[in-house]
């Protein structure tokens, strides 16, 4: 539908950007739009979402939507073609699929915000930043070059910072915002260095050009360096170990923000970056993909273990997000390109639902603590039911969406020839048990049993909140089935990229693939999910409130384990310790050098400039004859400059004649 109106696609990022600009402009003119800002955002995001769906329909029906590009700036370079930076959008299968998921979720979560955020004092701020974020995320997904991607990436980082700190009267929120910004910055620097190396290697930022050129580069270690630098950015943005510490704290932001940015979209940008750069990873030395797989696999089990013990509903979901993102990287790392993107899509749906449902519960009992919930199922049937579906789905119960993608990931791990795929497979399998356990722990604690006294007067949330939650239950349950049987997702993705097949071949060559093993693996995955569910039922469902993981606290070695988990493996403390013991003294030292050395130099130059200014200022006497005299002096000056050569020759001649030496 769009092939003749391709320029309209610029609206995808720009419709929300314009809303952002408009809200800020109005605020600058002293006009606080309040709730109206929300309606404006909804319109802007609606336009983008609609276009993203149309693009998906077009692309999946085989219409080629060529990339659209504008040269943003081109300038002459010394001896070579002009340097050009283009901004452009590209619509291939990857961007069409992810863009549609982002578009739909953005729209639903903005709708949800209308209910959740009602009555907040900073509404115009909130909606302006949400719009800017959505524009940037969609811009990132559809961009056709690394530079634009990086700009959007940084914009999202800014929005994430602003939105985590939205409740700026809360010191924890301000601290969490700062932490998120600083920690992701580490990854951003890596990404930026990667960009520089890319420019030096390829001379372009265009994905298509890089994809074509990458095969001709024989230095696989160079490619591995590029790939790992990009992956460094992904580790920061997608909160993988060891940069995972910011995401749980980011839950201080408003719940729709957690749902949109810190579960469904922005944290997926890292996965998307790796998927986008897949040609680089594939052609690079295997160390690159192995690193991706191991970081992902480790984060999956590591984060899932921490999700076992917390009572803050959003924190449990945050650790779950970390763990699931780990699954996606694991998939990409073992060559399961389509499995990774498949899980990205499924996870976006059910995790957004879970966050929005959690938000509805928080809205109802005014607390994040699951111990103050309980028995909510009777009060909030719609929310409870939707959350149950999502919980089943993320746990990987057969035929629900999580099952499809998780199984595909586990199979890909099993078949791959990555270094110690057996350990990674075990990580994946064990994570599946943990996932089912902590998710049902969450559901039972929240919805099952008898209500705590906080929860007694809980009522279902307003329709603007419930409707998106219930609507999302459909894809949360069925996206896997639809993707496999309607879209034929693996083919869909691999056909577009034209490299995944090649990759499977490469890795499969030293893999240990066999069909029976694959079937056994699938069965095993489902059994693991059921096992986790059963333990949760025994501990939290059947005898609600009687048994809890925190009983472990007093049980010898189990108590040590429990405290380790509760303290998040002491990693945050480790970082703080490192900062205070190493970084701060180092910075102090630098500050001393800076204040003494650099500042002294700068101040010296500055005062020299000021002194020069003070004397030149005296030329401005205000007396016309002085100005005229200056003009005459100026003519003499330029006469000297213009005839410097002649003068030099003349003086030379003079010297030779009088003193007998010279030129």
């Amino acid at each position: 539908m769009l092939e003749h109106l391709l320029y309209l696609t610029w609206l995808i990022p720009f419709a929300p950007f314009l809303v952002f600009g408009f809200i800020y402009l109005m605020a600058a003119l002293g006009w606080n739009l309040g709730q109206a800002a929300g309606h404006l955002s909804l319109i802007g995001v609606g336009i983008s979402a609609l276009l993203s769906v149309v693009i998906f329909a077009d692309v999946s029906s085989g219409v080629a939507l060529g990339p659209i590009e504008v040269v943003w700036v081109s300038f002459p370079s010394s001896g070579g073609p002009p340097l050009q930076y283009t901004m452009g959008l590209q619509f291939d299968h990857l961007s069409a699929l992810v863009g549609m998921v982002v578009g739909i979720l953005s729209f639903l979560i903005t709708l949800y915000s209308l209910g959740y955020m009602r009555g907040d004092v900073g509404l115009h701020r909130y909606y302006a930043h949400i719009s800017l974020f959505i524009g940037a995320m969609l811009g990132l997904v559809y961009s056709n070059n690394y530079l634009m991607m990086f700009i959007m990436w940084e914009l999202m980082g800014l929005c994430s910072y602003l939105l985590i700190g939205h409740y700026n009267h809360k010191p924890e929120a301000a601290a969490a915002a700062k932490k998120a910004f600083l920690v992701t910055r580490i990854g951003d620097v890596s990404f930026l260095i990667g960009l520089v190396v890319i420019w030096n290697t390829f001379g372009t930022f265009q994905f298509s050009a890089i994809e074509q050129a990458v095969g001709g580069i024989k230095d696989t270690m160079l490619l591995a360096h590029i790939a790992l630098l990009l992956f460094g950015g992904a580790v920061g943005k997608s909160a993988q170990f060891p940069l995972h510490v910011w995401l749980p704290d980011a839950m201080e932001g408003p719940t729709p923000v957690s749902a949109l940015i810190h579960a469904a979209t922005m944290v997926k940008a890292g996965v998307f970056l790796v998927a986008r750069s897949y040609p680089l990873f594939v052609h690079a030395d295997p160390i690159a993909l192995t690193t991706v797989a191991w970081v992902g696999g480790f984060t999956a089990i590591f984060a899932a273990s921490m999700a076992l013990v917390f009572f803050d509903i959003k924190r449990v979901l945050a650790y779950s997000t970390l763990s699931q993102l780990g699954y996606m990287f694991l998939a990409l790392g073992v060559g399961g390109y389509s499995a990774g993107i498949f899980h990205l899509m499924n996870h976006a749906f059910f995790k957004a639902l879970l966050f929005m449902g959690a938000g509805a519960c928080i809205h109802a009992v005014h607390s994040n603590d699951m111990r103050q919930m309980g028995g909510l199922f009777k009060k909030m049937r719609w929310t409870g039911l939707a959350m149950l579906i999502a919980t089943l789905s993320i746990s990987g119960l057969p035929l629900l969406s999580g099952w499809w993608s998780k199984d595909e990931i586990l199979t890909d791990v099993l078949l791959s020839g990555v270094w110690h795929a057996d350990i990674l497979y075990f990580f994946g399998l064990f994570t599946a048990v943990l996932t089912a356990f902590y998710m049902f722990r969450l559901w039972f604690l929240t919805f099952w049993g008898t209500p705590s006294h906080h929860a007694e007067h809980a009522v279902e949330a307003p329709p603007t909140m419930v409707v998106p939650v219930v609507l999302l239950a459909i894809p949360a349950a069925l996206s896997g089935l639809l993707a496999v049987y309607v879209l034929d997702l693996p083919d869909f993705l691999e056909a577009s990229e034209g490299m995944a097949g090649e990759l499977f071949f490469q890795l499969g060559a030293f893999g240990l693939g066999s069909v029976s093993l694959e079937l056994a693996g699938q069965a095993l995955g489902s059994v693991m999910a059921l096992l986790g569910l059963y333990i949760a039922w025994v501990m939290y469902g059947r005898r609600y409130g009687k048994r809890n993981v925190e009983y472990l606290k007093d049980l010898g070695w189990a108590g040590v384990l429990y405290r380790t988990l509760w303290n998040r493996y002491y990693i945050d403390q480790l970082y703080v310790g490192f900062c205070t013991m190493v970084i701060v003294p180092f910075v102090r030292l630098q500050a001393r050098f800076d204040q003494g050395g650099i500042d002294g130099l700068v101040n010296g130059i500055a005062s020299a400039a000021f002194a020069l200014g003070a004397s030149l200022r005296r030329l401005q006497t205000g007396i016309v004859s002085h100005y005229a005299a200056m003009i005459v002096l100026g003519i003499v000056l330029i006469a000297v400059v213009g005839n410097a050569q002649t003068l030099a020759g003349f003086l030379d001649e003079l010297a030779r004649q009088n003193f007998g030496y010279g030129g």
């Binding site: 040269v71 003009i631 213009g642």
Partner: protein
Amino acid sequence: MSDLADLLSQLNASLSDHIGLLPMLLLTILALLLLPLSQVRSFQRGLGVFALLGLGVATALVYEMFAFPHLGFGTFERRLDESYFGGAMVVNAWSLFFSAIFLVVALLVCLASLSEVKRHEPHQGEYYALLLLATVGMLVVASANDLFLLFIGIEIASVSTFALTAWRKKDALSSEAAIKFFLIGGLSAALLLYGISWVYGATGSVQLGQIAAAAPHTTHPEALTLGALLMIAGFGFKFAAVPFHGWAPDVYTGAPTTISAFLAAGSKKMAVVAALKVFVIGFGTVAATVHWQLIFGVLAILTMTVGNVVALWQTDIKRMLAYSSIGQAGYILIAVAVATPDAIAAGLYHSLTHALMKGGAFLLVGGLAAAGVGYKIADWEGLGRRSPGMALAATLLLLGLAGIPPTGGFFSKFFIFATAVAAGDWFLWLAVIGLLNSALSLYYYAKVIRAIYKRPAKAGAKHVHVPLPYAAAVILATIGVLATFFFANLGFGLASEAAESLLTLTSLR
């Protein structure tokens, strides 16, 4: 009857022969009409609107010629890249680019004048008529291809602006500024004319293409050199290049603020046109003997450094902007010195962005003054709260002047330095000194931004209401400054086209 029809068809033929000159013609007729109209008592308020409309039509004409060079226009036939008066005037991409700059500045200034010129003030007709005539002079310079015509254009613009500076003749500061401007202007005009006569003597022609052809074979190279020096001094006055700049700070401070904007943003660019044209075309063939590139390079260094260093000390915003304007002229002089096609395009682009930024900044000062805010930097404290919109515009305009994204000033300055570096040789040093100057200039621009967002000194300071015409002009300029960033490629492309078309003038005899 047939006589009349004859006359009309002759007129039509004559007009269609001179279609490229239509904007100048239109504005001249309008200026002459404004004088009798101003005697109609009830039409006082309409004068400004009338002038504004005229400028709007002229701008539209220029746009039309630039954007659709191949389209016929009404009953007239398109005449682009066409020379008039035997080659004395040429309308092409180059002249249209500058015409567009001049007209946009004139439009903004005229718009702001609607509130600067108060209802009861005398001589309103003269004000607008002179503004239009000054614009006509600038348009003549933009398309002149002949030293005499160049001189005439410069003088039309200069004399009009002398009078405009003195327009509030009861205001002592304004009159003092005008008389300084006039005296120094007179001296410079004499120098310029004297230079032209030497060049004529050496080459036997005043037409640029012919000068270029004759210059290498002249029997009096020293006459040519002398002519060049005197002309540089004459242009240096218009440019406010150090050491020919003495008048500029006094005049920019004393003149009505709209006129300061007009001088700094518009009429200064006239010297860019003239210098580039005369030296790249006329003296292009004798660059090796006249050393005009070296002279412009030295002037660029002096102009940048003096402008920026002295600006550090200013506490009056108008005066600070005046020195900043001198500093910015220094950057453009780099492009004149380098004089490769890319560098010329960069200089052109900086002329455009500077016109928007400096015009916007001066008009903002005027608008705030009209709203009761003083000219001292200290008076702007707390503006961020008292007028958030204008504070944002001020921030963007000042960032633009400092050359920081997201403003066109970033790219235009970057292009100038990049092309200087690309040209290699000693031009590299111009870029280095330019960069150091840029760093220095940030201090005084940032000082103002800091004041704007400081808490107001007096608690409960009132909200500032900038009059609508002023606010509109400032907002338009600010949008322009942003647009020249986001659509830099488009703008730079147009500038390149203009620079290319300048170089084709060589072939015109």
